[in-house]
Point group: C2
Chain length 373, copies 2
């Protein structure tokens, strides 16, 4: 990394980024592996992608936010064609009449960590070191961009077959989520979404800074610990400042695909001396709430991360299965997700738990601590 | 009517048009009454709408096709804001960069008979004497325009709240139906759709000619027969050349709302001397197939029309109810709906009856008999 925070993504970085992004996906966000392969192929063919710190953005630069949209359960099996986000981005540029000069992640967690990298390689643009969630969330409006006032239109969605739909006038971010989700499901549950271009000064204030680099570093830590045959879970906790909340074995897992979302619940029986005899995790694509012995101990927007107890591999909700041995760790969400405005959009109430009073975790941090806002 | 086939729609015409359109709706297409009231209000405020015969169209004139989209069962209760089609039309003009000089009905049957009249009054455009169905059909691709090659994009849909979605690149007319239907359902199942502008020479070949005038005349016949206390069903049959297939009483009616469509089946027990003891009608928004004593006697695209036995009122599927006494009449679809290309899109097989071999009705005619194609 150069002193000014800019650096080019290397082939080796892509694997690290994808592993760190899976961890920040908090069980959802889709598997970044296929996107990693696609972006690697683009780099091998000569494309370069530079990571740019948020403070390198000019006030009047236009930033594009792109990401895949659909249901992660479908995403596991669905290999996308690869230009969905790029075509959505071009449609948004055309309709809004502006030229995008940098891209940013909607969500650093899961597959969407790789989408702006792929689009950046295709469009010859830099990608910003930051995102709109600092984790993964299931819905379009759940980004700091929308929470802090990004316009819901014009946005565009494109599929792998050549269809492009433009959301030209949209009342608010909830309507955008509704239209985009339904269109993605109609398209076959795997499509690229580009939202309305945002100005540089807005993105510097509204984005969660440093998350691209943080994902990269988490991935490097995991790979390094594996190579040295160290305790991977321990290294992750040391590197992130996360807290270990529970260890145990999955005894029950229910999942259903409902309106484009994977909803369900996992039960874990405690083993070892860790904090309680039974845990339960509520899921809507991502892990929403962790209860230990009936008491809620971590809840959205804070991060609930399941790691394979032996390998430290982040376990996504779609591969969670009976008998798996897990370490459940918690990481506090970025401060931008804990304001009153944010709580209305990503707090427990927004996920159907109006009775849960958000009690923030301590220890660790998402982002690089630079709150330019 | 002037000698050249042009004429202005009067307030009195609107009621006749709506009644005739309900009959041509073959049980579906939604109730035109609310649209009639809206267009009447526009005329009373000083708007004028001229009906233009197809052969008045210049080759290079651009024609807009607009219509409401949603589920008729919802449509009964939902009063639209009134500018949905107009806003969709303006979005399509803007995206395609052409100026529309005349409007045409997607379907003359049901509520969509009034939509281009309303939009014409709002936009100061004439409305063409013709449509794309000569009846009502449940899906967007089921028009002679799409059957004979109209482009599926750019099309646009608008709701009553201010949302507009543009279908910018669409693979084919089936994808357009899918996107438009899902978006309409997301919008609350009542929205205005405008398809890509069509050239005048194409519309002259592909439209079913004279159906606006025909609906008007059917409506006038019904009103006249009622005023004179004549046998309304008999007058309708005499005026249209339709054939009476069954009279009887509804003994069972099933309806469900499925993916934006009203699907179901009606059973009718024969009364009087008419052709059989039991009839059954399959419904997908419109009446699809009539069986008499187990034998299919009318099937799509031919028109199956239920009339109230006493009043001659066309009965839409959503108000069909136990105990109603009906006359079921049949009218042959226009020739443009009976070619091999058309059969693939609107024949029995396209509606889930691959085993039914289409056997065309004789007697009567939809349209004015001028086949410019």
């Amino acid at each position: 990394m150069r002193g000014d925070g800019r650096y080019p993504l290397t082939e080796a970085d892509l694997l690290s980024l994808s592993i760190g992004a899976a961890l920040l996906g908090t069980g959802g966000g889709g598997n970044p592996y296929v996107g990693m392969l696609r972006s690697r192929e683009l780099l091998r063919k000569g494309a370069t992608v530079e990571v740019l710190p948020l403070d390198a953005l000019a006030d009047d630069a236009w930033v594009g936010e792109v990401g895949g949209i659909g249901a992660p359960v479908v995403g596991v099996e669905k290999i996308e064609q690869g230009e969905e986000c790029y075509r959505a981005l071009r449609a948004v540029e055309e309709v809004s009449g502006v030229r995008i000069s940098a891209l940013i992640c909607a969500e650093i967690g899961g597959a969407n960590s790789m989408e702006p990298v792929i689009t950046a390689a295709q469009a010859g643009l830099p990608v910003l070191d930051g995102d709109g969630m600092g984790r993964a969330f299931p819905e379009v409006q759940m980004t700091t961009f929308f929470i802090y006032g990004a316009k819901p239109a014009p946005a565009a969605i494109a599929d792998d077959k050549g269809n492009t739909v433009v959301f030209r006038d949209v009342l608010d971010m909830y309507w955008l989520e509704r239209f985009a989700r339904d269109t993605a499901v109609a398209m076959g549950a795997g499509a690229g979404l580009a939202i309305a271009p945002m100005r540089g000064d807005f993105v510097r204030r509204a984005a969660i800074p440093g998350t691209m680099t943080q994902a990269l570093e988490i991935g490097r830590t995991i790979l390094d610990a594996r190579a040295k045959r160290q305790d991977v879970v321990g290294r992750i906790i040391a590197a992130t400042g996360a807290t270990l909340f529970f260890t145990g074995k999955v005894t029950d897992i229910r999942r259903e695909l409902l309106g484009g979302f994977a909803r369900g619940e996992a039960q874990i029986a405690g083993s070892g001396e860790w904090h309680g005899s039974e845990a339960r995790i509520a899921i809507q694509n991502e892990n929403l709430v962790l209860w230990v012995d009936g008491r809620p101990v971590i809840m959205v927007p804070d991060l609930i991360i399941n790691l394979d107890l032996e390998t430290g591999e982040p376990i996504t909700t779609e591969v969670l299965r009976y008998g798996q041995r897990l370490a459940v760790i918690g990481l506090p969400a970025h401060e931008l997700l804990k304001t009153p405005e944010a709580m209305a959009v990503v707090g427990p109430g927004a996920f159907g738990y109006p009775d849960l009073v958000f009690s923030p975790l301590a220890g660790g941090r998402v982002g690089n601590g630079k709150d330019v806002r």
